[in-house]
Structures are given as structure tokens and as C-alpha cells.
Symmetry: C2
Subunit: 440 residues, 2 copies
């Protein structure tokens, strides 16, 4: 392994009972990766002394950098800070900067500073405090680790104690689990420190976003190119709801040569895949659509029934989307379809709310009401209830329109309510993109 190895330990019962989805690990991994640090393992354990100690022992043995999130709150289910303090052989002392910051936060929030909050200002005496400007619990770093037990597991799975490694140079960092606090500490303190401290080969990614074909089809099509890839370039398939992202990852000491080489391979693959290539950059569909609208100088309007505003939400996740997005009429009731989008009452009565005719009138209505150049309209039955023989659960009608043309299409999704909504949003955006890219 030529890169620096890192491990992530996530602490918290809420992760093990599934109450919380761990988004921190992905964020940390992505940002370490950009520096050329490989996350080799991620482990989640409960708020439990033995499990935490075991994870620390193992991950410190297996990686140079260990990042810990979670377990640093004010309430009694949190045991991590005293344990870390003990693990690294120090004791807890009140840190004046942290205490002043805490009192300031409590004053600002108009809350009394209680005796139990005092504990939040305590940090292990032998750590470097990583200031948490977004919250109360500071981050902590230990730079020279006396590993209590250097447990080493060799590639052939033999377990041994590795003597003489007791003073190996390692970095262990503990941060609170609240995502924006963790992110703030990583950005302000951890990433700049790691960047300065560790050297490694450049690691670069290049991505091709495709739509409309599956992994196997693509693999068959680019087989010869894939087999010809040199050892320092890897290709990964990342499928996601009707789309497949292909990611080339390269490692080399010569960053500029690597960039050129990756771009050449990316070009060859994209040329071979032709029409199914949506973008040659790792962008979400909403950004791809936004860039295309911006380039054309056109405005978009939506008419959403079953998606309930989800497509509008995705479109407006992109900074600057007001330059090309006028808005969405979320016409969940038929009354709103008629009153606001001016769908004919007899269209709804004769064909139903989930029909080609209704969705076409919703699209032309959105064009007019939202004064837009393009419109996307969606009406369907996401389930689990509300299906009929004629319009079963999972049926979603879509229409895209400009001032000259209306195109309609029906989809049938077979997942649960939330996944059907996500698929409808993604397929709708894809249909829109094909429409104004004139690819359909």
C-alpha cells in the first residue's frame, strides 16, 4: 500500500440500533481521499467501554491515522471522552478556551450554564484541543500514541503482538458526531494538519455519467479498454437509479502526467459509449440540467403531483438555481391541478389524475403559469395505497414540454413509496435532459 492508511471509528448506540444513518464516514472518506489518504476500514461500535477499547486497539494497529466520531455529548450515555483520556494515559482537566466558548454559547442561546455542562469544558491533559466553533464539544488529537497493545494481523490472518511498536507515530483524532460540528473541525483543523504532515502520491478521479443502460451492457461494450488499463488506474462501476457512473481512479507521483493519462482514458471510454454519456464530470443530474439550462439561457418550471415538491427540492439544491428555475406548482389535489395549472375539469373526470392527458395539460399549464421555456410534469401513484386495476401502484405519467412540443411517457416502478418517488424524480430529470438536449 503506497498511500497513508486511515481508519474511521464511529461511536454510538444510535448507529447500532439504526436510529441514525452514518453520513459522517462518507464525508470524512471523501475528503481524506482527495488528500491521497486511503480509508481502509470503517468500524461502528456502541457506547460501551470494551467495544471502544477493542476498536481502538485494532484500528490503531492497522492504520496510521484513526478518526473517531461520536460519543462526545453532554448527556449520560456518553462515555468516550473519559475513556479516551484514560486510554492515552492522561486525566481530564478544564480547558479555559473551551470553557469561555461554552459560556458564550449558553449566553447567546439564553440558557443557564448548568453544573453538568462544566464537564463539557474538560479535555484530556495530554491531547491537542481541536476548537469546535460550531458547538460545545471540542475535538481532540493525540499525535504520538503509546498503543496499549500492538495487535497485528498479517495478510495470512495470523495474529501477533508486534514488540517495539509501542511508540509508533500515529495520529488519533476524536470529534463530536453532530455532522456540521465534525465538518467544521475537519475543515478548520484536521484536513490542513494532515495535508501538511503526510506525503503521498497524487490520487485523481475522472468520472463518466451514463444513463439508460445497465452495468453489464457497459462492461461488455468497453471490455477491451478496461482490460488494457494499466495497473495504476482502476475502473469502478457505480450504479444508481437508471444511471451508471464510471469512475477512473489513478495514482502516481507525477500528478500532471496522471491527469493527462486519465483524461485520455476517459475520452476513449466516453467515445465508445456514445449516446448514453450524460456528463464527463461527477455531477448529479440536477446540476447537469442546471448547467444545460444556463448554457441555453432558458427557464424551467415544474408541475409536481406525486413527487410532492421533491424535484423542485433537488433542482434548488444547486447554488445559483434561481438563474434558471422559476418554481414548481405542487398540485397534490385535483382542485389545485384545475385551479392553478388550469387542467380542464373534464380531462381529470374522463381520464383520471394519473393519465397521459392530465400530465400533458399540467406541463403546458406550468409553462404558462410559471412563464417558463421548459416544463416537466409528474403525476402518479407511489403506493402503498391508491392503486386501481387500470392504474396500479407504481404508475407514473410524465410530460416534458416547450412552447412547440409536448412529450409524454409512462413509467412503472416496483419499489416502496420513497424509492418510487426517488425513481420518478430521477427519471423525470433524465427525460427533461434528453428533451432539451434533443437526444430523444
Amino acid at each position: 500500500m503506497s498511500n497513508i492508511a486511515a481508519a474511521i471509528i464511529t461511536i454510538g448506540d444510535e448507529l447500532l440500533i439504526g436510529q441514525t444513518i452514518d453520513t459522517n464516514s462518507a464525508w470524512i472518506a471523501r475528503h481524506l481521499n482527495e488528500l491521497g489518504i486511503d480509508v481502509v476500514r470503517r468500524v461502528a461500535v456502541g457506547d460501551n467501554r470494551e467495544s471502544i477499547v477493542k476498536a481502538l486497539d485494532e484500528e490503531i494497529a492497522g492504520a496510521t491515522i484513526v478518526l473517531i466520531t461520536g460519543g462526545l455529548g453532554p448527556t449520560s450515555d456518553d462515555i468516550t471522552k473519559p475513556l479516551l483520556s484514560e486510554y492515552f494515559g492522561g486525566k481530564l482537566v478544564v480547558n479555559e478556551r473551551v470553557l469561555a466558548h461554552l459560556k458564550e454559547i449558553f449566553t447567546k442561546r439564553n440558557r443557564p450554564f448548568l453544573e453538568r455542562n462544566m464537564k463539557q469544558a474538560e479535555v484530556p491533559e495530554n491531547c491537542t484541543v481541536l476548537f469546535n466553533k460550531m458547538g460545545t464539544a471540542p475535538g481532540m488529537m493525540w499525535e504520538k500514541v503509546v498503543s496499549r497493545k500492538s495487535l497485528v494481523i498479517s495478510p495470512d490472518s495470523k495474529v501477533s503482538r508486534s514488540p517495539g511498536e509501542d511508540h509508533e507515530e500515529k495520529v488519533v483524532i476524536a470529534m463530536p458526531g453532530v455532522p456540521f460540528e465534525m465538518i467544521s473541525i475537519m475543515q478548520d483543523e484536521v484536513l490542513p494538519m494532515l495535508r501538511g504532515r503526510f506525503f503521498s502520491d497524487a490520487l485523481l478521479h475522472r468520472t463518466i455519467v451514463t444513463a439508460g443502460e445497465g452495468e453489464s451492457f457497459i462492461a461488455e461494450k468497453i471490455q477491451s479498454l478496461e482490460e488494457a488499463l494499466p495497473a495504476h488506474i482502476k475502473l469502478a462501476y457505480l450504479p444508481d437509479a437508471g444511471m451508471v457512473k464510471l469512475r477512473l481512479t489513478g495514482r502516481s507521483a507525477d500528478k500532471e502526467a496522471l491527469a493527462k493519462e486519465l483524461e485520455a482514458r476517459q475520452g476513449e471510454i466516453a467515445d465508445l459509449l456514445g449516446d448514453i454519456v450524460v456528463a464527463r464530470e461527477d455531477l448529479p443530474m440536477e446540476k447537469i440540467i442546471g448547467d444545460a439550462l444556463l448554457a441555453q439561457g432558458k427557464m424551467l418550471g415544474l408541475a409536481e403531483s406525486c413527487t410532492g415538491g421533491f424535484i423542485g427540492h433537488l433542482i434548488t439544491q444547486v447554488t445559483g438555481s434561481s438563474k434558471y428555475f422559476n418554481g414548481s406548482i405542487v398540485s397534490y389535489s385535483n382542485e389545485v391541478k384545475h385551479n392553478v395549472l388550469v387542467v380542464q375539469q373534464e380531462t381529470i373526470d374522463n381520464y383520471g389524475a394519473v393519465s397521459e392527458q392530465t400530465v400533458a395539460e399540467m406541463a403546458t399549464g406550468a409553462l404558462r403559469v410559471l412563464n417558463s421555456d421548459y416544463a416537466l410534469a409528474v403525476s402518479g401513484v407511489l403506493g402503498p395505497d391508491g392503486g386501481t386495476d387500470r392504474v396500479p401502484v407504481g404508475t407514473v405519467w410524465m410530460a416534458v414540454a416547450d412552447k412547440e412540443t409536448v412529450k409524454t411517457k409512462v413509467f412503472r416502478f416496483h419499489y416502496n413509496r420513497q424509492q418510487n418517488k426517488e425513481m420518478a424524480a430521477k427519471m423525470g430529470m433524465l427525460m427533461l435532459w434528453k428533451f432539451f438536449s434533443r437526444k430523444s
Copy 2:
């Protein structure tokens, strides 16, 4: 530990580079928990033989049930299936049921069945095949595991090989990483099998949802009750954007007595917390609002600017929301605010789009245009751009209205664009709930 211990291994480079957020583990943990199976560890490793073998060795040693997700796709970055086959001492053979299912899927999707797809029909000869009706890659189960090395780490962190454990009864299950395929296999095959096979104490949860106060405040307020909890009942604090959920978890052989005991404790805590209690059930805010609207027989309409449809999306995540939700006018442009919501042009010109006056007119406009009993309107600057001295990034004005009253409030969020949107949605829903619960 009285409960059955399970471990989850997630396989895939995409998890270690942070391309994908692991939602599978939380789903699995939540559903195992309901059965009374404790997830004691979750580990994520890359598509790499040594890491996978090491994780298998360790997790099989530390848990009775090991669930593996990921690494089972048709493309060349997937090495898990042959490795598992080898690990459990079998070889790959074509499974006729899987092959027939595969061919059916390819026919239905109008895709050619390619030579490399044949590999997808292969399964280790010594496993039980778990049928995957939602996708191509089957699940696999090994019921009697010959653990290659029984690595045991005792509570005092000593590592030893435990002889005689080589034939310990364990269950190892491998499933594809695509969430809806994993969920389908879990629901149809894995959960019923585990429920029948393992006995354990009943495990019950009771939740109290609070809003408006922090963890420390709550902890101080209920300290005496918390300290008086018996050993078999645990209390956890789960903070989330302006809300804190309190979860009581109890274990006992006597399920009925436990339920009564938990409900009594829940009642005492809720009574002590009084006004800040939003619900005595673990429900998201959108469901709490929906239930309240349904009980009152009232209809809701939204006027969303900066949230872009996100609140409508959340409200419509709830099955049956059409009974109380008419729709949302996502008025991203000022033109739509004026044309559709009939906000006075001079209000926008004089006070700006992000102002108390504009948001109040948006709310009364939504009441009228969407013919609703209650309306919530939101207009703000989420950032990172678009802020001014008067209206800095993070400023969000909200209004709630019925036919008699309009209430307005300004918030200032300090996170990134996406988090500011989430906070705005949550605070908006909370404001709405307080308004029609007459708690403000």
C-alpha cells in the same frame, strides 16, 4: 450479554472513498433490533481479498449472526462471491432457479443475456440461496460455519485462539448492496428465518419527542427520574435539529410487564417535561403534523421559496397525506410570488423577497390559491451566495396563517446550504404544529 449478537460487514470501495452513504446498515440494525438481536459492530471494508477475509474472521468470531452487504454485482470490481465460496470451502455452480429468474429479467428489460451474465447465476454449492425477486444477484446463507480461525478477544483485551470452537453454530448471510434488493431479501427470507431460529428476551422501545430545548436542559429536568431507572431500562438522548428524542429501551423475558413498565416511565418523563413534548411516539414531524391535521379535519397549503419544495416533499412522504395536503406553490422567482401567490409587487419592491411582509402575503396567498385552512410560507437566503448586509446568508422568514391570524418569525441558520434548508423545513413544520396546536 443476554441478546443474540450480530455484526454487519459492508463491502465496497465506494463506501471507503465516500461515494456512497451506507443506509443499509441502519435498516438492517433497526429490523434486527425489533427481533431482539443486538448489532454489536458494523465494519466496512473495500473490494479487497485480505480485508474481506480479515473482517469475516473477526466478525464471525465476535457474533452469532454476520450479515454481509455489497460486492455482489456483475462487473469486474466484485470479488465477494468467489471469495465467500472459497472461504466456506465450496465451489461455484450454476443455480437453475437463479438462471431462469435472470433470463426472465433480461427478457422483460429487453436486454441481451450476455456470457458474463452467466456468472450471476452461479452460487456456492454449499450455501442456501436466498431468492432476490427485485434483482439479479441472489442472497446466500451458510448455517454451519467452520470458522477458519476462532479469534477471541476477551473483555480485558487479551487475544487468544479458542480451540474447539471450529464448528460453532453461526449464521452468515451475504446480500447485494442495492438497498431495495437487500430490503426485499431481508423481509422475505432473512427476518422470518432469524425470528424462527433464535430465542431471546423481548426488547421494547418507547419514545418521547420534544422540541425547543437542548439535551442539557432536559437532562437536568428529568435527572431524578433518570437516576431511578432500573438496570434493564436504558434512556438515550437523540438530538436532531431543534428537537430531542428520548428513547427508553427495556429488556425482559416478560414482554407484557415490560411494556407496562416502560409506558409508566414514559408517562412520568413526559409529564415532567410538559409543554416541550411534541409526541409520545417515535414519529417524524411530518407525521405528527399529518395526524393533527387529520384529527382536526383541516387542509394544509404551502408557499415555499428557499426550501424549493422540500417541505412539500416531507409532508408527502407520509402515506395518505392527500387527505390533508392540497399542495405547495414553490415560488422560487419573485414573478411567481406575484403572479401565482398574488404578493403585491410593491411589497417585494419595498421590503424585498426575504422579509416579514412578503412571507406574510405568501402565506395568505397560499391559503387562498390552494383553498386551505392552514398555510406555511418560507422565504430566505440559504447561501453560500445571495446574502446582503440587511439580509445575511442564513436568514429565513416564515409565516403561518389561518383565515383569522398570521404569525411571522425570523430564523438565522449558520450551516451550509443543504443543512440550512433542512433546518428551515424542520423549524417551519414545528412552527406550524405549535400554531395549530395553540401552543405558541
